[in-house]
């Protein structure tokens, strides 16, 4: 079978909708178009039934009760609602009282949709600790433990990192939070639907996820909000009709929710097989690339990682030119250097990847329909491109001549 180019290896950014998801959604645009809030006619009831079914599928995926699922527009909203909603609800002192409002623990390599709400809360008088993981990228329970204080009200640590795919110690961090009486939120955007979740066993209080990362539609997601042991309360950010038990007002996105539900149902059924297949493909890709190139590293912990994401750094090659060279492979770049053209990756910088000079990195993320042929082709193209750019790179020559690049006095530019 001929390869179709460009090929898509950016599934951590978004995924195509599964055709089964689209099929499930279609009737809800035209036939079952009612507002689930319309309690007094067939149209409303039919729509509500679709939403309820979906809520059940999402709850099953997470090991939760359907009543604990709040539909959102995606993880950004879920993270905002969880973090700000919990902070405002559990604050130790109100704004303007001149007293500390409470302490929050998060991590420096979270997604911006977690970091920025935390930074806003910091401006509003909350204190925030940004944990910095080591080179393996893992946030451990010990790191969280060391940061916890008597006034810690919320801990928000992502389940798996979106850039490097590393997996944090969620169950242990959850247990710790429950011991200490802090609310535990996890941004599970990259994890949920790919790997098993059991909110009871994993001791999660709040969990955000998105539809479009799990072969569902964009613009819809879910926030799990624990109802028992402990019952977690949130201050709503959007007020109005009181939908979603008052957590999130606004007419429900019925088509999107139905799509999310279907995607969750499929994810649960196919998770194990998908994960196993993708892990084999990812390893194949990594060994093909690192086996043929020196001065190359896979970033983050070697084992504690998602099956489908890899982030590889290449020495002596600049990021934008590498992206240009592999332009038929759709992936993300995380340049660790302060290039004029590429935003440096704060994740890789935190891990210390940028400390060594002249690195560039590619994040490749595989998906449900990624084939072995695609992975082999991508590996070949990447190896060729890096070799070509190294043949142009004065830094690679200097490295091969035994010159220590960190000791060279570079000009100011």
């Amino acid at each position: 079978m001929a390869l179709k180019l460009p090929m898509y290896l950016d599934h951590a950014a978004t995924t195509p909708c599964d055709p089964r998801v689209v099929e499930a959604m279609l009737p809800y645009f035209t036939k079952v178009f009612g507002n689930p809030g319309s309690r007094n006619h067939e149209f409303g009831w039919a729509a509500e039934e679709g939403v309820d079914t979906s809520r059940g599928h999402v709850a099953e995926l997470l090991g939760a009760d359907p009543k604990e699922i709040v539909f959102t527009s995606g993880s950004t909203e879920g993270n905002n609602l969880a973090i700000k909603g919990a902070a405002y609800m559990y604050e130790k002192a109100p704004a303007g009282a001149g007293k500390p409002r409470g302490h929050i623990v998060t991590c420096a390599i979270e997604h911006k949709a977690v970091l920025d709400p935390c930074k806003r809360l910091q401006k509003e008088g909350f204190e925030v600790t940004f944990l910095e993981p080591g080179p393996d990228g893992i946030v451990t329970a010990e790191m969280v433990q060391a940061a916890l204080r008597d006034d810690t009200i919320l801990v928000t640590i992502m389940w798996a990192n979106n850039e490097i795919g590393t997996v944090n110690e969620v169950p242990r961090i959850g247990a710790l939070c429950h011991e200490r009486g802090a609310v535990f939120h996890t941004d599970a955007t990259q994890w949920a639907g790919k790997m098993p979740v059991d909110v009871e066993k994993d001791q999660v209080d709040l969990l955000s996820m998105s539809g479009h990362k799990i072969y569902g539609p964009k613009g819809v997601g879910a926030l799990y909000v624990r109802r028992r042991k402990p019952r977690v309360r949130l201050q709503a950010l959007v007020d109005g009709g009181g939908q979603e038990r008052g957590f999130r007002s606004g007419t429900l996105n019925v088509t999107g929710i139905v799509g999310l539900g279907k995607a969750a149902q499929i994810a649960r059924a196919e998770m194990d097989a998908d994960a196993q297949r993708l892990l084999a493909l990812r390893r194949r890709l990594e060994s093909a690339v690192t086996g043929k190139l020196g001065s190359t590293q896979v970033n983050g912990h070697a084992e504690k990682r998602l099956p489908h994401i890899t982030n590889i750094s290449f020495g002596f090659v600049e990021g934008e030119s590498l992206m240009m060279a592999v332009k038929e492979i759709a992936c993300s770049s995380g340049s660790a250097c302060t290039s004029a053209s590429l935003e440096p990756s704060y994740v890789l910088k935190t891990l210390g990847v940028g400390d060594e000079l002249a690195h560039s990195s590619l994040r490749l993320s595989l998906g449900r329909w990624t084939t072995r042929e695609e992975v082999d082709y991508a590996a070949e193209r990447i190896v060729e491109s890096v070799q070509k750019l190294r043949s142009l790179s004065p830094l690679y020559d200097m490295h091969n001549e035994g010159i220590d690049l960190s000791k060279v006095v570079w000009g100011q530019h």
Binding site: V317, E318, E320, M324, L392, S393, P394, Y396, W410, H413
Partner: protein, 147 residues
Amino acid sequence: MAYGPKIIEHYEHPRNVGNFGTQAQVKARKDVGVGLVGAPECGDVMQLQIKVDPSTGRIEDARFKTFGCGSAIASSSLATEWLKGRTVDQAMDIKNTDIVQELQLPPVKIHCSVLAEDAIHAAISDYRAKNGLPTRQPADAKTEQAP
């Protein structure tokens, strides 16, 4: 980054890639001038080498190696083409704006052309210093008349 065809052409088929020896070898060669400019942490390092015929002062050959974006590679590739055949004095007249114009560099990439000009000047200064020749500043007034 949407690049024009000339940048893509130079990026895909860079001219005169290479050098006239290792760092240690070219340092010892009086007929070779080396310009190494930029910094890895800025995302651009250009190395330009010129080989000069001492009897005529003419640049016989030029080579480059660049760590950087597509525009940086194209700018230095173009610079080597323009350097060949010029005298060292004439080479000083190559302006970054000429490179911008020729390659149709987008505004955010003008620094690549500046770096290429810096590399040319550095290579010439190195050649002059090795041969005990006086340094000459680029004749700004003259090049403005003849772009």
